[in-house]
Symmetry: D2
Subunit: 127 residues, 4 copies
Amino acid sequence: MNKSVMLKWLQEGNIHIPTTLLTHYHTLKLNEKELVLLLQVLAFLDKGKEFPTPSEIAANMSIDSVECHEMLSQLIRRGYITIIDGVNEFGIRFERYSIEPLWEKLIDQYIAADKKEEVEVDHKKET
Amino acid sequence: MNKSVMLKWLQEGNIHIPTTLLTHYHTLKLNEKELVLLLQVLAFLDKGKEFPTPSEIAANMSIDSVECHEMLSQLIRRGYITIIDGVNEFGIRFERYSIEPLWEKLIDQYIAADKKEEVEVDHKKET
Amino acid sequence: MNKSVMLKWLQEGNIHIPTTLLTHYHTLKLNEKELVLLLQVLAFLDKGKEFPTPSEIAANMSIDSVECHEMLSQLIRRGYITIIDGVNEFGIRFERYSIEPLWEKLIDQYIAADKKEEVEVDHKKET
Amino acid sequence: MNKSVMLKWLQEGNIHIPTTLLTHYHTLKLNEKELVLLLQVLAFLDKGKEFPTPSEIAANMSIDSVECHEMLSQLIRRGYITIIDGVNEFGIRFERYSIEPLWEKLIDQYIAADKKEEVEVDHKKET
């Protein structure tokens, strides 16, 4: 091993997830496979790869590309990710995944949980 | 909602995982449930909670505390996490999880993959 | 170099700052030296070192411990950091820095900037 | 304020720096202004903006665009950042900053410090 391995490692970088995603995905009705699939999509987006194929995603996971395709379709239907298509600055059409719907669900959930907590605190104060 | 929700969200913070863990956990013979369990332990460590119980961990996941206990024991046996015990600065005994073994496996794997790649590049050059 | 260097590097970890801090510190009336000093405090807190001395902080910077002490005092007076004292679980008194006031200022600033933008968008719509 | 502010904040994201950069920049002969300028470039790269102008960078800092231009030139001359030019997939020429030279210096420095430490430990053992 030499310096170049370390440089490569450094450049692979990190993936960053709100701690709340890790504590709330189950409440959001996601299981562990679905969570990890979403993290894979996030990691591809971070690297600038905006529309990875089911095979590319499945290659990092315990599932095959057929199951991956099926899971992606379901996550889209259930409103966790969405596909955006458009035309880039060079006039070329593109498609890309967006996980903004996931963040919206997570924020909704977080705000709701916060309100519930407040109500509970209020009740305690009253009694 | 108000400013305080946003402040709380900010303070919950992020969890950061080397992208290589996400791309290599399957090669490391971990499945998605095991990966997420390790991320949960990592998140607890980050928050300064160094020895979470199986129930505390399972509360965030799709598994119950019995299954969580079983999975933790297996991850220890298989050498992904370890329990460290010691005495703190106030003379009190403590136990805490360490996921250093996971990082070691990941680095080993990464270095091995890098060497293999170099060999392949060399072969191409020779032909 | 060997694997252990890489493991150490990995364990040193990363420091994470909201991108908005980097784009808004100047609006928050901080200069670069003050920003970096706050990042140093943040890094010490992350490592669990909650009340670093001016010398420890200055050792990583272009300033000496006297200047560091002076800057810290000013940042406290101007409301960017605060010192919290309390008694820990073992009955020992402690003091620690908190940079929560910085996050509050940043969020205030962010929300204010967002409102201003909305108003500008509204004006455009009206004309 | 409403949910959309929080979503925007979340999407602005974080910037992540190796903690070692924060503890070693001074040894690398960078001052605080230079460090923050490099972080600004890093944040622009993260956002996919690969060749920000001195005015765009200076807008976030306590310096004006002339001083920013001067500092950038010096950082290039002194080997901390470099400009890469090439042709993209659509046949359009591009220029972009790379801070790979900074990471190389940092790793060199880190490895050197590690070796020095080992030597010191060895000396202690011998005496």
